[in-house]
Amino acid sequence: MSYTLRGRLESRVAALLPVLLGACVLAAALHRWWPVELVALMAAVGLALDLEVWHRLLPYQPAWAAIPLGAVELGVLLGIVYGLGLHASLGPALALFGAGWLASVLLSQAGFPLLRLGYAEDGGELGRVGGVAAAGLVLALAGSAATYALRLPPVVHLAAGVHQGPLVITRREVLQGAPGAVVRGGIVVAHDDVQIRNVTVVGGMNGITVDGVRGTVIDGVTVEGAKLDGIHVRLSGVVIRNCTVDMLGNRMGQGIDISFNMELGMSMVEGCTILGGQEGITTHSSATDIMGNRVSRTTGEAISVDEMSMGMASHNTIRDALGVALYCNDRSMCMFDHNTVVGTRPDAASGIRTRRGFGILASFQSEASVWRNTLAANPVASGTATGATLETTSQPGW
């Protein structure tokens, strides 16, 4: 087929319309926007390539060219998806792209020629149908964007000053603290899709409790003086970024404890500073990535992947931990890479052999993979106990 530019664009848009409708249905079923975002991106990438590349490059496009062209478009799309962090699951995203590609091939080879008598000789132009399809696509995307905007959670601004807690959040919202906003007595997240930003939390049983909800984002918070955990997550999916948790003087609490959320997909702790506490960051039966954090002066383990967790601890800096710095325990599968562990101290008072000041310790049938960690001034650089394995590999162990 020798497409005209208009024919190429009209065919593209008309072929995307059923895919977009399918994505809208999928988005409604999953309560997630990525299918619509992905189709919008597919449209943008496809139309941009049509305008700037394919039309100039291909005066005639044989049917087989759909395969390499589709592969190029998929590559560009995936690059943008992961570059923008759209959080699309790879499998469903590929399935959606595949459905779009297949729809496009079938429609251009069979559907459109049947629909419009002169499709081939008109260079893929669809006449009124093309205009209607373009309007449909714009309407569907605009409708989706409007729905997205309308469904954005309300923003609650927390003014500077001390607010007496505990603050219990029971609806979707963004709690946005002004500089100097402090909540005394803790925050409890009791609803899906809550975001807490730039708030200082002082005291409370836990500084922030997240229990039984999805889609929580905690960004830029400071937690001090919690009686138990700084940030306590149970049965919830969370992203915690750029936080500061001060647990100095609390020998039993954990800085961040994320537990029992294996079924809820990946959680993330990134860019946080944890000071003191028994465990700095710990996960239990969880799939959590722990990236780029600074943990120091803990009394148990600095970073602990425990109780059948699967997790990656990467690019973290640990200093002055007592007993164990990086810990993979209880049938967990861990990948520790590019971490810096300095100055772990032996816990002589405990009299326990596995607390002799390990930089990395794998224990009780867990499987730890390590790669390019910097270990300095630790009494024992790394070791295993009770049937655990520790191997050096660039590939994760799961």
């Binding site: 087929m1 020798s2 497409y3 005209t4 024919g7 005066p59 005639y60 044989p62 049917a63 087989w64 080879q109 069979a110 020629p113 049947l114 008598l117 002169g118 499709y119 081939a120 000789e121 008109d122 260079g123 893929g124 132009e125």
Partner: protein, 364 residues
């Protein structure tokens, strides 16, 4: 009472008829011709050059839409995906038998014989709101007269050794083939396969195009620019596109190279002493060779450009088409609108636009 007439019952008329049937019943269309079999003339020519495979691809058929093409029906019949894969690679060429069976099937199911009128139309005369065809009145007429006759170079017309490629013939021990298009290439291979020694006489080297013209001229992408050309440039372009050509590929090249190495194939500038001279020189060109078109032009003072009728982009005759009537031209005389008008794709192009004109007509 028929409102629409097709003058010519060959493949171009037949393809137009299939498109018209989407809007009209057989009783509303009259097809004038001398043979009810739309493939009658083409079959003889294909048989004469022993053509086994079409030059056209999957969409070289007579249906109104390009899909389903012949690759699709071939895949269904053979229970194999191979034809579809070949089609995706632009390597599928239906066999002549497949094409003829397709024409036969369409003829049976489309009501063609019901619309067919066995009569040679001698005159098309424009009247108010339509046209008189030897006394019958129609609002919309499509002329698909076909090629006006076989072309034999003037200097060879009295040579007793001469036979035209499209006339039934055998092969003498020494054969000269005049021409360099698809028919000539087919004849080179035929004569070599029959054991003959072959001399190719050609005025210029053939182009190696997969189809009759470069692919862009089959769609608006190439046509828009072509149709915007000034008359002189368009004539030059049509001349260039009329160059002899046959498809690239080892299927053609290998036997010729082998025969050349064996001393059985060579190229010369003029006819030599071969026992047989086959003129693969195509058809007479230009509307003047067709009595119906020549009379139409003369009686209505239609605009022409050298050998070509000047037509609108949709192949309608501008002086005789308006909001109440349409006179359009399909097949080789429609080249002014569509350079590959003498192909099945060209016939479909004209048919689609003819139907569009009729449907837009106030008095339809």
């Amino acid at each position: 009472m028929a409102r629409v007439a097709v003058v010519g019952s060959g493949l171009a008329g037949f393809t137009a008829y299939q498109t018209l049937r989407r809007a009209f019943e057989p009783g509303e269309i009259a097809v004038f011709g001398t043979d009810a079999d739309p493939a009658a003339v083409w079959r003889v020519r294909a048989g004469a050059i022993r053509q086994r495979e079409m030059r056209s691809e999957s969409d070289g058929h007579c249906l109104p839409t390009s899909f389903p093409g012949l690759a699709f029906s071939s895949a269904r019949r053979r229970r194999s995906l191979r034809p579809l894969l070949d089609s995706a690679l632009d390597r599928f060429h239906p066999t002549v038998d497949e094409f003829l069976a397709h024409v036969e099937r369409l003829r049976d199911r489309s009501g063609w014989d019901e619309s067919f009128v066995s009569r040679r139309v001698g005159r098309v005369w424009g009247v108010d709101g339509g046209f008189e065809l030897d006394g019958d009145h129609f609002a919309h007429v499509l002329l698909a007269p076909g090629h006006p006759g076989l072309n034999v170079p003037e200097e060879l017309r009295r040579d007793p050794r001469v036979v035209h490629a499209y006339e039934p013939h055998g092969y003498a021990p020494t054969v000269t083939v005049v021409g360099a298009g698809l028919a000539a290439a087919t004849e080179w291979l035929n004569a070599l396969a029959a054991g003959s020694e072959v001399v190719s006489v050609r005025r210029r080297e053939p182009e190696r195009w997969p189809l009759n013209v470069p692919r862009r001229y089959f769609s608006r992408r190439g046509l828009d620019g072509y149709q915007r050309l000034a008359p002189r440039e368009r004539i030059e372009r049509l001349r260039a596109l009329s160059a002899p050509s046959y498809p690239p590929g080892t299927r053609w090249d290998e036997p010729l190279e082998q025969a050349a190495r064996d001393g059985r194939f060579r190229v010369e500038q003029s006819v030599n002493g071969s026992e047989q001279v086959i003129c693969a020189t195509g058809f007479l060109r230009g509307f003047r060779h067709d009595p119906l078109l020549a009379r139409l032009v003369a009686e209505h003072g239609l605009e022409t450009a050298e050998d070509w009728l000047v037509l609108d982009a949709d192949s309608a005759v501008p002086e005789l088409s308006d909001g109440t009537r349409t006179l359009a031209v399909a097949g080789v005389p429609g080249q002014w609108a569509f350079p590959a008008a003498d192909t099945l794709a060209g016939a479909r192009y004209v048919a689609h636009r003819f139907l569009r004109r009729i449907q837009a007509c106030r008095t339809r």
